[in-house]
Symmetry: C2
Subunit: 343 residues, 2 copies
DNA sequence: TTCATTTTTTTACATGCGTAAAATTATTTG
DNA sequence: CAAATAATTTTACGCATGTAAAAAAATGAA
């Protein structure tokens, strides 16, 4: 392949025997030209290896084919996993994903949005930090570019929100724990960085009340996103202190649970549902590592795929229709109970 | 701020009272204009919120300010962590990082390079998949754009390689294990996707021989990047089979060790250095989760920061000097022993 | 074959910037 | 203050594409 070197679309058009506008049309949508034309262009493409200059394209198009994806923390495999799904769907739809991570920092989140702005994306998918996010900056951004939020919501921002039905999922696991043993206490951070945690707290309380049990919150100190470390420290403190009001612990998320289990192990406390176990621990999210904890963690699985699909589909609809949504749509997926051996 | 709306550099130049070329010069390098000019432009910048069109800039510059970062698998927190460091350094150097992940698939790795090509990056940092990488495609890519490899090497590709000194690190932990107990057997995949694994195998063998012990490899089946799962299955099989030739196991990496520990726990085998323990397990990499395994994992820490810094610095030097390296430089950092309680 | 329809070509202009050379103006130095 | 130097402006062109309108050509149906 590649006889002479092709510099631009003009030369490629000449080489392939068509005019530049026709070739341009082909690149914007191969189906917009006659089949015979398409085939001849594609044959030429094999021969001459030319690709349109992406900068010139993006400069002149009304819309770029870029879709920004900003996640709260790529170092958390949960986000990496959902980002992977989202990226795949974006590529399949013929767009180009631009993945950026806030790495837990509000400043970096703001910088990420700022950086995306200059790229003029057709749309953006955002998993915001939550409590520490700059909400005003975020809303201002969403006014300018179509945005769909996932995992975490920012009130009055974006075209839509796609997330987990915490009420259902927490209700489900509280139900399970109550009918299979003692009613759980709720292990969480006093001041969680993540709004989901607040929803889960509320869901826990209402579920317990619904079942006629008294809710008991264990709220541990800690700041930031090092949930395992925070959970470890909180659990160590809790487990060496006075006796627990219940032998069952529901953690606000799997990462706290991972820290909790590590602490319990270190304290020599046997966790699980076996006869020799003195504590049951459950988590939430079905974190990629939760199947390798000791013992394996009973948890609630978020439906990564569905959340990714719905988010991307919703954004693409907004982009295609070329008009902003007048009402903010909110889609919540149910969690699925994943029973392993920790509870 | 922002009185009228500024569309382009022409309008902004007029608004700020300079000519467009002067303003253009400022944006390319603020220090290339007189201080008073710089200050007036910056004042205007506050007032009018304008930012240059990144596509027009990149189209006309000799070089873009983009630096591609392609990692083997973002879903592995090790890569996420090193990517975070690299991204930060790139931003600090005034470039824009473009992060893409192969997610363990050679096709996606090739696609990633292809996608980066169209972005005309000033340079690229690559942590290749290794064994399954398309070496020819990779070398062809490196001919076109300055590339530095990290974590994994591809022979005869790229300007430089920055990684870990497996010989030193494995030697160190073998030394430690031998002097504190029985000589370790080596737990690894039969056909690892990652070339580092081969180096570690060799390093293990030579270290054992140096210390007068017979090397013993336990090579488990499995394909792909689900190391925890592969380690879990391999360990389960191994631990339920005939008695082990040693009570000490060195895993080729932490993710295998995480699976191993999970399996040992399930088998009721107590791992650690305590008196009631029957097995010692060590890993390698100081994976973010290795401090929360049960028991906490003794391992070798890779120096994320140094690897990231050296990689970025090397690439920037190539970019700045505007000439390709004639010799391929290879930098290996020593690992550090992280003693926890698993061995 | 003829006519209506679709596709392609031609022509022309727009986009938002980089950059080079020459002319001008401002600043610094002696 | 004049000369030397540095910064800025003017002018002009280039980059690689999108896009719109009118003209021409190809295609398909009767």
């Amino acid at each position: 392949m590649s006889d002479p070197k092709i510099k631009n679309m003009e030369e490629f058009a000449t080489a392939s025997g068509f005019s530049r506008p026709t070739v341009s049309k082909y690149f914007n949508d191969p189906n917009s030209v006659r089949k015979s034309t398409r085939e001849r262009i594609e044959a030429a493409l094999e021969q001459f290896d030319y690709r349109p200059n992406i900068y010139a394209m993006n400069q002149n198009r009304r819309q770029t084919k870029n879709i920004g994806v900003v996640v709260a923390n790529l170092a958390d495999p949960f986000f990496a996993e959902i980002a992977r799904n989202i990226e795949r769907l974006i590529v399949e739809a013929g767009f180009r994903p631009i993945l950026v991570s806030s790495y837990g920092s509000p400043e970096q989140e703001a910088d990420a949005l700022d950086g995306l702005r200059s790229i003029k994306p057709a749309g953006v998918l955002i998993a915001p930090l939550g409590r520490s996010s700059d909400r005003d900056a975020m809303r201002a951004f969403c006014d300018d570019v179509p945005s769909v939020f996932f995992d975490n919501e920012i009130e009055n921002a974006g075209e839509a929100f796609v997330g987990l039905n915490n009420h259902q999922s927490i209700g489900m696991i509280v139900d399970y724990l109550c009918r299979s043993g003692e009613a759980p206490i709720f292990f969480e951070m006093k001041l969680p960085p993540n709004p989901n945690a607040f929803k889960r707290r509320k869901a826990y309380i209402s579920s317990m009340e619904r079942l006629g049990h008294e809710p008991r919150l264990v709220q541990i100190d800690g700041d930031g996103w090092d949930f395992e470390e925070i959970g470890f420290r909180g659990a160590t403190e809790m487990l060496t202190g006075r006796p627990l009001p219940s032998d069952t612990v529901l953690c606000s998320n799997d990462r706290l649970a991972i820290g909790f289990l590590s602490a319990a192990y270190e304290q020599g406390i046997r966790v699980g549902i076996g006869p020799d176990c003195t504590l049951r621990v459950a988590g939430h999210d079905d974190h990629p590592f939760s199947r390798f904890t000791c013992p394996k963690l009973t948890t609630v699985a978020q439906d990564y795929r569905s959340i990714a699909e719905k988010s991307v589909r919703t954004l693409l609809e907004v982009i295609d229709s070329d008009r902003r949504a007048e009402t903010r749509e909110s889609t919540l997926f149910d969690g699925k109970l994943v029973m392993r051996c920790s509870a």
